[in-house]
């Protein structure tokens, strides 16, 4: 059982090379079947307990969502939406477990300026390495799902690790293990896709014509996927993006700008240096010194007359 080597990474933030994609691991994934979810928040509790995190005790704001948003301690959160289906006239209580999607093409990792602060293992898990994190918050801007949070305590970024510590010893993530109704399942990405197929067939048989899987191609697919009864309208589920992708601005900033900027500045500096050395020196001649003397005398004299 080899230790962790460059070959065990699919991506490493802020490095000038891409790890050799030679060692093939099983891609893992978590599948969240929204149609089975009862919003019990066991996943939230299990997450806090497993990761030894505690959240501050908040207030009721007229909704079931507690806490009210993800925080550096709350890595996963149930978001509740009451939706009256115009098609059937039925009320539907859409409950989505929010958290890191572990994108195949992670925007956080792309945006991160700190080498090795964000890594993606070959099994697909996108992990934050606090040791290397510098707390700049670039990952927040890189993420298409608004997931990472920066702790005010240690100024480091935090989010769901997909329980990389559990997965690394062959265990399922804490939330997936806890889920009472089996709405959260965990396994190889292929197994999860197959499982989703079965669920979608069942949902269609119960009248959800647009049931489907949420594995957005815009970010190269994710390692946390949803089964939705209304896959055609993901935004119904507390604003799950229709077609998430890394922001164009971020792409431009971390792409062209980065390289062009380097090139331009580098070239300019080089040119200036070379020119300054090889070009004829722009120096003051003895003649000019003398002319200066005369000019000074004249002007000084004028000055005195005035």
């Amino acid at each position: 059982m080899a230790g962790l080597q460059s070959q065990d990474f699919a991506r490493i933030s802020a490095t000038t090379f891409r790890p050799p994609d030679v060692r093939h691991d099983f891609e893992v994934a978590k599948l969240i079947d929204v149609s089975k979810c009862i919003g019990c928040k066991a996943c939230q509790a299990a997450c806090l307990e497993w990761n030894n995190l505690r959240e501050e005790i908040g207030y009721n704001r007229g909704v079931y969502d507690n806490p009210h948003d993800l925080t550096e301690n709350t890595w996963t959160l149930m978001r509740f939406t009451e939706w009256e289906n115009p098609g059937t006239g039925n009320l539907e209580w859409l409950i989505r477990k929010d958290g890191c999607m572990h994108c195949a093409d992670p925007g956080c990792l792309k945006a991160c300026p700190a080498p090795g602060a964000i890594v993606q293992y070959n099994n697909g898990i996108v992990d934050f390495v606090s040791e290397n994190c510098i707390g700049c918050g670039y990952c927040v801007k890189g993420c298409p799902f608004n997931i990472p949070r920066i702790s005010q305590a240690d100024h480091k970024a935090y989010k769901c690790t997909l329980c990389s510590d559990r997965v690394s010893v062959g265990q399922a993530p804490a939330c997936a293990k806890a889920c009472p109704t089996g709405a959260i399942v965990f396994g190889t990405k292929q197994a999860m896709l197959d499982h989703a197929e079965g669920r979608i067939t069942d949902l269609k048989s119960r009248g959800f014509k647009n049931a489907g899987i949420y594995d957005p191609p815009g970010v190269g697919g994710t390692h946390v996927m949803y089964v939705l009864h209304h896959a055609d309208q993901p935004q119904l589920y507390a604003g799950l993006p229709q077609n998430p992708r890394i922001s164009q601005v971020v792409e431009l900033w971390k792409g062209l700008t980065k390289y062009a900027g380097m090139a331009v500045v580098g070239f300019a500096a080089a040119f200036a240096f070379v020119h300054a050395t090889v070009a004829r020196r722009n120096d003051v001649s003895r003649a000019e010194d003398r002319k200066a003397e005369h000019l000074i005398d004249e002007e000084a004299a004028r000055g005195r007359e005035a």
Partner: protein, 231 residues
Amino acid sequence: MAVRREEERTTVDRYPGRVRVNHWITAISLILLAFSGAALFHPSLFFLSSLFGGGAATRMLHPWIGVVLLASFTILFIQMVRYNFWTKADSHWMRHIGEVVAGREENLPEVGKYNGGQKIIFWLMTLLILVLFGTGIMIWYEYFGATFTIEQQRIGHILHALTAVAMLLVVIVHIYAAFYVRGTINAMTEGKVTGGWAFRHHRLWLRQEARKGVIDERQTPPRGHGVGPAE
């Protein structure tokens, strides 16, 4: 401000101490910003963060240095702005910039304290520093992470990066000029330039200074006109 006759040479005061100190604070801040910024800008330059005590420290210091820069530059601005208003002569000078670079300034009209190029640098720096500071605030996550939307911050980031590149170019031109035009550095080190330098590059300014009078700092009284002993 004065023209001084010294033993071996004649000099003209260009910058008093307070301006020089201020200039160098600004200059150093700029360089530190360039280095710390570069560390976060491109992975292959991340090693520069070790100069600041690691990545986290770099992230923490960079904006504060920016604040220092803004402060010192603001003073610099107040000290220099009055010499930097644009004139016809500057436009003419700019049109013949090629000859300047070629080192043939003789054929150009006499230049005052600053030539067009210097003025442009001055105004460019003013503008860029303002933009850098503004966008810098937008992306200063520790204090303003909640003030701006994520989309605004994204824009802030790219603007900051582009402006920084522009700023670096300006700085390079500035430094290049300072080195290329021999005798210029003294202005910011000793605070004075040689008469010849003034005659060659800022003749008009030299006239103005000379008219104010000449201070003779030589021990031995002069034998008639002329420079030093005849050979």
